[in-house]
Amino acid sequence: MTALAWLIPCALFLGALGLAGFLWSLKTRQYDDLEGASWRALGDEKPKG
């Protein structure tokens, strides 16, 4: 049963990591223009910056 002591925190941590990633992508407005983003992936645009 000691396996549970680290497996459960691991599972929860990974899940929380996914959730954090999702919230980050939402906050940086990555879902605003899905149509445009799909076209941008095809072009060889130089990264802005």
Binding site: I8, A11, L12, L19, R29, Y31, D32, K48
Partner: protein, 735 residues
């Protein structure tokens, strides 16, 4: 990939660093018309980015908008718009408008869905372990640990993700009626509350998984609905922006100044140059030209105006400069009037009660009284109150409308995807329900029953040779008539020689002069013709030698128009034609399409009152139209459809948009809507059948968490599978 998308950060970076102190940074929000693909997006961004003073240009293709960071001391938004106009894109600045694509409620739902999804997956992981553990060797201390972990995840997740439902349920209760959110909220709150109580007691009646999974599915349905709505709203915002924002006013002393449209007063004289939108309703006092009135009428055939004619705000001057005397203030213009009529009509539609809410009004009281009688029954039989409450809550959980809440959305998603594959885009879910109830179909004429594009009408009288040489001139122009000539030549599979040295003379026609040839294609006067043809619009082609030939144009009925009308007729629908055009022309087309009941010369408010009359007769009207003048009627009708080329405002007002040059999608849309309604009712029946089996078990206190989870998923899968049948079913319409 993150860095290319973070516009807000880029703008901040631009404003904070490496720019001289003399700069004045601003962001301009442009609505750009005519962007369709990645190539357009690139052109617009490159065009804007190349201008001096522009530090960043970023297009949002979903909303057809561009966000541009500029140095206001070096460039103005007018220059940006001009640069885009040269590349063939009409753009307008949107001031005081929300900058982000979707409304904040969309983001909010997405965030809550993310949280609910995370919680549901983790709690399921723990629950499945417990369920399988009860058959094997899991000891009770581990079980308790898992229950506590589930509670820890579920509590904040339910509190956060459930808010939209709790809020809506509270609002409904305050107004003393029941919607679907009331049983949902009650079920979720009680399931969570009792699970906590049972966790404390160390019992096995834990329903966290059921509560949070239900929330996640419901949020998904709501998000899809919101997405459709947000897209429609942003299209409406772009349209309002299409009104001119400033105008060139001629003052008494002859000087010309740019003045904001809001400051224009009746009696002022304004100039509308070629390609410019007319800034206000008024009368032409100097010049003659052609006007693109498609914003108002949906008709792409240019409309001739001369001194004394009425022109409307928002239409585009295609020919020479016009001087216009303003007759109405901005707030009274036709465009504003139509916007007002529309919002009034839409308020009526807001009163429509959706199928799911109708079901909830019957379902919720039944469920709640079942729960109550279980509680009272157990007490009466002498059980302790805790056991009575547990049984009562089990009833509420088993009846919690998981299947019921999925019954309608699942069908709607299936219907939307079937319609989409046929080129019909459904905008709002309740539109589908209203569409299914229609028993009367009212068509607009131009652009709806007809194609809305001019076609060569007297092709038989024009030889191949003449047509080919006319088309070679016409290929140089984007004028609708010129394009019709090219299309006619292409339809006959003629080879169109590519010519250089073709000049477009604004307002007159096309000219080609070389050392030994002179050819003209254009208006009668321009080709030296004095005879006047009947009312049909025409172009004349004057070859180098020989007589000029007239090319006449007509807007023709869609190829399957008559067949669709006949099909609707035989299915028992009443079909009418309602048009703003002259009655004689309307009658001609009505005969061609086989429509017995037609009305011409209808103004927007007359169209509405006609629909009101039909409504008073107890008819549910489906309006099919495309023009701005149809928009109020589209909003007032029980349900509405627009072709894809319709003006934005008409598309905003209608429930669905169909693509292509055929009219058949109208029948398909009605058929799918009726099929969806049938399946939704079947799904309700299935959900109720499942309740009939499981509610007695729950009342007897025999429902364990495992049984609840299996029953819930089984019923949800059944209704979803039933909904998916819609995609392949053979459908028929009937009024």
């Amino acid at each position: 990939m993150g860095e290319t998308l973070v516009l807000g950060d880029d703008l901040r970076r631009v404003s904070n660093t490496d720019l001289a102190p003399a700069t004045c940074n601003e962001t301009v929000n442009l609505a750009v018309d005519g962007m369709h693909c990645g190539a357009c997006m690139r052109t617009v961004e490159d065009t804007l980015g190349a201008l001096p003073g522009v530090s960043l240009a970023r297009v949002n293709l979903s909303t057809r908008r561009a966000l541009v960071a500029i140095d206001a001391n070096r460039i103005t938004s007018e220059r940006l718009i001009e640069a885009l106009a040269k590349r063939g894109y009409t753009a307008v600045e949107l001031r005081d408008m929300e900058r982000h694509t979707f409304s904040s409620s969309h983001d909010d739902l997405l965030r809550r869905l993310g949280v609910a999804g995370f919680a549901a997956m983790n709690i399921m992981l723990l629950s499945v372990s417990v369920w399988s553990g009860t058959n094997t060797d899991m000891d009770s201390s581990v079980q308790t640990l898992f229950h506590w972990l589930s509670a820890l995840i579920a509590l904040p997740a339910v509190a956060y993700a459930g808010q939209p439902f709790f809020g809506s349920a509270l609002k409904a209760l305050k107004h003393r009626h029941l919607n679907m959110d009331v049983p949902i909220s009650l079920g979720v709150i009680l399931a969570t509350g009792m699970s906590i109580y049972q966790t404390l007691r160390g019992s096995e009646q834990i329903y966290f998984d059921a509560a949070i999974t239900l929330l996640a599915f419901l949020l998904l349905g709501r998000l899809l609905d919101e997405q459709m709505r947000a897209k429609a709203t942003s299209a409406a915002g772009n349209l309002l922006g299409l009104k001119s924002v400033s105008a060139s006013v001629i003052h008494q002393d002859g000087t010309v100044a740019r003045v904001p449209v809001k400051a224009i007063e009746p009696g002022m004289r304004v100039i509308a140059t070629i390609g410019e939108r007319i800034p206000a309703d008024g009368r032409v006092v100097q010049g003659d030209s052609e006007i693109d009135q498609s914003l108002i009428t949906g008709e792409s055939i240019p409309h001739k105006v001369q001194c004394g004619d009425q022109v409307y705000a928002g239409t585009i001057n295609l020919g020479q400069s016009l001087i216009i005397e303003v007759t109405r203030r901005d707030a009274n213009s036709l465009l504003s009037e139509i916007a007002q009529l529309m919002s009034a009509a839409e308020q009526n539609r807001g009163l429509y009660v959706r199928l799911a809410d109708k079901a909830a009004q019957l379902y919720a009281p039944a469920v709640h009284s079942l729960g109550l009688s279980t509680f009272v029954g157990w007490l009466a039989m002498g059980h302790p109150w805790q056991d009575a409450l547990t049984a009562a809550i089990a009833v509420l959980i088993i009846t919690c409308p998981c299947a019921l809440a999925l019954a309608v959305p699942a069908v709607q998603v299936a219907a939307a995807s079937r319609l989409f594959s046929k080129g019909i885009i459904l905008k709002a879910a309740d539109g589908l329900e209203r569409l299914a109830e229609a028993d009367t179909v009212v068509f607009d004429k131009t652009g709806t029953l007809t194609i809305g594009q001019p076609r060569l009408a007297n092709g038989d009288a024009v030889s191949d040779e003449t047509l080919a040489s006319a088309a070679s001139l016409a290929a140089a122009s984007r004028h609708p008539y010129a394009r019709a000539v090219v299309a006619a030549a292409e339809a006959r599979q003629l080879s169109i020689p590519l010519l250089d040295s073709v000049q477009e003379v604004s307002g007159s026609g096309l000219l080609r002069v070389t050392a030994d040839v002179e050819q003209r294609l254009g208006s009668a006067g321009w080709c030296g013709i004095t005879t006047k043809l009947a009312d049909t619009p025409a172009l004349w082609f004057k070859p180098h030698t020989g007589n000029a030939v007239a090319l006449q144009f007509k807007d023709e009925i869609r190829s399957d128009g008559a067949a669709v009308v006949a099909a609707l007729d035989s299915a028992g629908f009443r079909v009418e034609l309602l048009s703003g055009d002259a009655t004689a022309e309307v009658a001609r087309l009505a005969r061609q399409a086989g429509i017995a009941s037609y009305f011409g010369e209808q103004r927007p408010e007359q169209k509405i009152s006609h629909l009101e009359r039909l409504k008073a007769q107890g008819r549910k009207v489906l309006m099919v139209g495309d023009g701005l003048n149809d928009a109020p009627a589209l909003a007032a009708a029980h349900a509405s459809l627009s072709p894809a080329h319709a003006t934005d405002i008409a598309q905003t007002a209608s429930d669905a948009i169909f693509q292509g040059s055929r009219l058949a999608p109208v029948i398909e849309a009605i058929a799918v809507a009726q099929g969806a309604r049938r399946l939704a009712l079947q799904n309700f029946a299935l959900a109720i059948a499942y309740n009939i089996v499981f509610v007695p078990l729950a009342m007897a206190g025999l429902v364990t968490p495992l049984i609840a989870a299996i029953a819930m998923s089984a019923s949800s899968i059944t209704v979803t599978a039933n909904a998916v049948r819609l995609r392949t079913q053979n459908l028929k319409v009937s009024a």
